[in-house]
């Protein structure tokens, strides 16, 4: 019967945006939701870690559906190369903090939702405290190391973790630690893993959009208590042939993770790995006291050619570590600064003097280009 668009039927009352019955009507008339379900949503608190491609899909759907409180943690600022997939950001917001921009967008979308933004980096020293304030934790990050950190902090705080991740045109979704169910470590016990991120491997917006929406769907199902949560199952989706498969996995018998073991494992290395901006090491670029170590694979571009540089792909680093001189300071870089931190950790354990370059080759190329001009 409704021929006019929904927005034309809204009363002109200035406060109409605060009218919950109208706003949520189309989902509340679902028997699975109703008034009770809408109340459950309003009382829920969800933390989304990462406001990039996945976050940009998860966040508006949670806010629009009326999740009462949403936390966003992301330390990055918006770059022009983010906009093709992080569709909640406008072109004129380039340079602004993602967490803050996302908060503005969500508040405009639904002022009934309380949004908390954090522009710091998620780390072992803030994770536990932050997680304690929320019911559900969404992993919308792009780093394997952070996924282990989130997983372990979820175990310590007893929160479910909604995992999503993509590789080119494929995506994975799962819910870990749901009602004491299997965790990320049960699926991937080998922590010393390297996998390419979007910056390294390429991505289109649709892939992160679909996977992010599947994550939002798991969040709503858990809150509402409807359907079947992807616990002990990983969904793998291929957008090129639309094939999707679910794989079951069991809980592993691994040593329990407690606050104590968590702190022991993370706070130690976190303090030790030093990161540095490339523009601050420009003075040393021609020095023989330093070595620039490129841990990308052979085929990755842009090529960075400096006076003292060497390329050893991260996967070969352990075997070829004797090619490096312990007397030199090693500045390690990869494409975007993620893998280089893994490499730095490895070198640190072998007593090298090492720093990881923030932003990797992409950032270095930008700085080198401006250096030539000036």
């Amino acid at each position: 019967m409704m021929l006019l668009p929904y927005y034309l039927l809204l009363p002109e009352d200035k406060n109409s945006c605060m009218n919950t019955t109208d706003r949520y009507n189309r989902q509340m008339i679902l028997p699975e939701i109703g008034e009770q379900g809408q109340d459950k949503l309003a009382q829920s608190k969800v933390l989304v870690i990462g406001a990039g491609g996945l976050g940009a899909a998860v966040l508006p759907y949670l806010a629009a559906a009326g999740v009462g409180e949403i936390g966003i943690i992301d330390h990055d600022v918006i770059e022009i190369s983010n906009l093709h997939r992080q569709v909640i950001y406008k072109s004129d917001a380039v340079g602004a903090y993602k967490a803050e921009e996302a908060k503005l967008m969500l508040t405009a979308l639904n002022p009934l939702v309380k949004v908390n933004s954090f522009t710091e980096k998620l780390a072992a020293n803030n994770a536990i405290k932050l997680f304690e304030n929320y019911d559900i934790i969404v992993d919308a990050t792009d780093s394997i190391a952070i996924k282990y950190l989130i997983n372990d902090a979820c175990i310590v705080t007893n929160k479910p973790m909604v995992y999503g991740s993509i590789f080119r045109f494929q995506g994975q979704v799962s819910v870990f630690n749901y009602q004491n169910g299997p965790t990320y470590r049960c699926l991937y016990p080998n922590e010393n893993t390297e996998a390419q991120t979007c910056t390294d491997a390429g991505v289109i917006g649709i892939t992160v959009g679909i996977i992010g929406m599947l994550q939002a769907n798991e969040v709503l199902k858990m809150i509402l208590g409807i359907g079947e949560v992807l616990s002990g199952k990983i969904l793998v989706y291929n957008i090129l042939n639309n094939e999707q498969q679910k794989y079951d996995f069991d809980k592993n018998e691994t040593p329990a993770i407690t606050q104590e073991t968590f702190e022991k494992q993370y706070l130690k290395t976190e303090k030790l790995i030093e990161e540095i901006r490339f523009d601050l090491v420009l003075d040393e670029i021609d020095s023989d006291e330093v070595l620039f170590l490129d841990v990308r694979n052979e085929d990755e571009t842009p090529k960075i050619v400096l006076k003292n540089n060497i390329r050893i792909p991260l996967s070969d680093l352990e075997n070829e570590i004797n090619k490096l001189d312990k007397n030199k300071t090693i500045y390690v870089f990869c494409q975007s600064g993620v893998r280089s931190k893994t490499a730095a950790e490895l070198l640190l354990k072998q007593q090298f003097k090492v720093k990881s370059i923030i932003g990797g080759a992409l950032e270095m190329k930008k700085i080198l280009e401006t250096k030539v001009i000036t």
Partner: protein, 78 residues
Amino acid sequence: MIEIKYFGAVAEKTKREFEKIPFSEIALQDLLQDIEEKYQLESLSFSVAVNQKIVQKATAYKLISNDVVALLPPFAGG
């Protein structure tokens, strides 16, 4: 026949998303070793599923005809 499915970075290396091999019986560990050598997968980490279920200990697992093996590496993009 045993079917093998490849995902993510593993499929990039094998340059195919699946293949069928004419075995009626083989130990999972032997099959994995063959694949790892053939496609030089040693730098990659992945979990292994048989018939849609992740196998936690590949050592003792015997495959029989019509089994479907999947190699699932972790993804990192987001």
